[in-house]
Symmetry: D3
């Protein structure tokens, strides 16, 4: 049955799930919940834990929320996560990512993936001075 | 022979390679070249192209150099590239990354890797509103 | 031509391929063959070797078949393999995976991907006691 | 300074960090804390959140703790996380993983990584019946 | 607006972008440009740098262009990059990849992904003789 | 005990394992067996299956053995598999890989990893003409 295997809509959700959905919408100042959360709602414990962690981690701190979204996109492009790229590209734009920023983000992500493979392929040993500064 | 298979030191380098090494040291205001570049020196065309690309990409732009280093680290942690993490952790600190920034960076990187796997495992379909905004 | 480049249906298959298809259907007690096998049928040697390996590996042993399906899903979610997630989610449910099991599986997979990235990013050195017990 | 950049020993830890270390040792019935946690101690918020999540996720549930360790190892081998493989191989053995189980685990992990790549490379389309059962 | 966020068609492109598009079509003896390049056109600097690099790297050298395409496909299958597999499968066939070659390529790619995971999972130490020959 | 958990030397091996070791040494015209096989010897079924598969896959066919080694290295660099890079770099050199070939291999591998990330990050849609030719 779709209601148990696929995603869970607000109307079909338990009070526990609705409470998380409500907090997502309040925190994000929106009246919809993404499919990601509707899917996690199949496991309320994971839904709650994941949401609480993201809410804490993505909040302003030593890094601003936009920088955090850029980092999120960098990981998601590296992992080829199509859903995450679609949803977090939107989030990043909402938080002020311009086309110029996106272009530079992708340039760095591409270059890092390239040099990661080169460092491995050439079996480069870690320089002594980098070992000290760990 | 180590000189051909391993890394190439400045003293053993061709003029073409020395020119790149010189530009690296000048640009980075240092008198040493990392093992990564000494390894790439085995293929001067790749050495030059990679250095020219990195010099261009990591320069200040719509994103500042520190943010670019954070993105680099995010990719390298996702790919488990030990050499890149060692060398770019040092670069990031040189450009002003504090312990607080590093901690938040890693928190986002960890969370992004977690939710990337969750989005895949739950086979979450992309929301209609995200398709429009590509 | 689709028949050579895409997937190979039973009706178009050589006797060698049909023999593998027959064994798949007999072993799995079904009358259909998944697209994965129809695609591998383009290379009969790989089709046969892959099927024989999977038949051997996924059989009951020190680990039961459901546990093996959970491990399969863990790898596939980590690799973002959409086809494998779709087909092996179905296999796992057929072998008894409940929603609760799926939720816990995904929680562990998400957490492992998170901590894999953290261990790399923090450049954590292996504890002495773990080196001994390899 | 090593104390701020590397790992944090119990003797140098803040009360907040010590409280997590104490809970780790109590929960795991051991008198040592792994380097992973000593590294995360550099960011007490991440230390606490990660530990609380792992404690919750790895506890007995619909899946037993050993199965969860096997899943953890499957992800870690796929990601080439050397630290995680070293530490969780020990955990899995402590929870009862035999050599036979380890061998079968690795056989499934290897096969899943192989077929993940084959499904991608052959560009296999998802079968209709798998789309329904999401 | 699609013209800024999605892909950029030749008719809408700046002279700088058109120059790259023209070079792509001339070099590849075709009158179309793939979506990949139309997407990169959103960032003309990345478009130009990426195209110049690929043109240099994929040209005949110590390795012939077909071998290079096979290597490209090997990486793309490992990374689960669906777009790259679709476009470079076509390129490889255009350069002479037969079904037999494709089958053997995929067999090696699958096996390499399998043994990569096994080497990690078994925590195999590098043999002394391999350390010397780096 | 190291003999059961680590690697198994010829002197300690069962007849079943020795038979595989003998075949490896005969096929490869050498008198040593790499640590990889000594580790797999902990699970004789996986040892035999993996060796038989590799022997079949890496043999000359539509692709020559050197090309297959290059493909192996491409996957291993992408996955950051340090053991596999060490052992297969040696194999590739034994089969005739020159420094020029290695340099071009790595250039393609680096570029493919870069463009894989770019294609994902830009969310590039597959061109219609590539869908037809699957």
């Amino acid at each position: 049955m779709a209601a148990t295997l696929g995603i869970i809509e607000y109307a079909d959700a338990s009070p526990e799930v609705r409470a998380v959905f409500d907090d997502i919408m309040t925190t994000r100042k929106t009246d919809t919940v993404n499919n990601f959360w509707k899917a996690l709602a199949r496991d309320p414990a994971t839904l709650r834990r994941t949401w609480e962690s993201i809410k804490q981690i993505m909040a302003p701190g030593a890094l601003d929320p936009l920088t955090k979204e850029l980092i999120y996109l960098a990981v998601s492009a590296t992992n080829q996560c199509q859903y995450c790229l679609a949803s977090h590209s939107a989030s990043a734009r909402n938080k002020g990512m311009t086309e110029e920023m996106f272009g530079e983000l992708m340039a760095v992500v591409g270059m890092a993936n390239e040099t990661n493979a080169l460092a491995a392929g050439y079996q480069v040993e870690i320089d002594e001075q980098f070992k000290a500064g760990r």
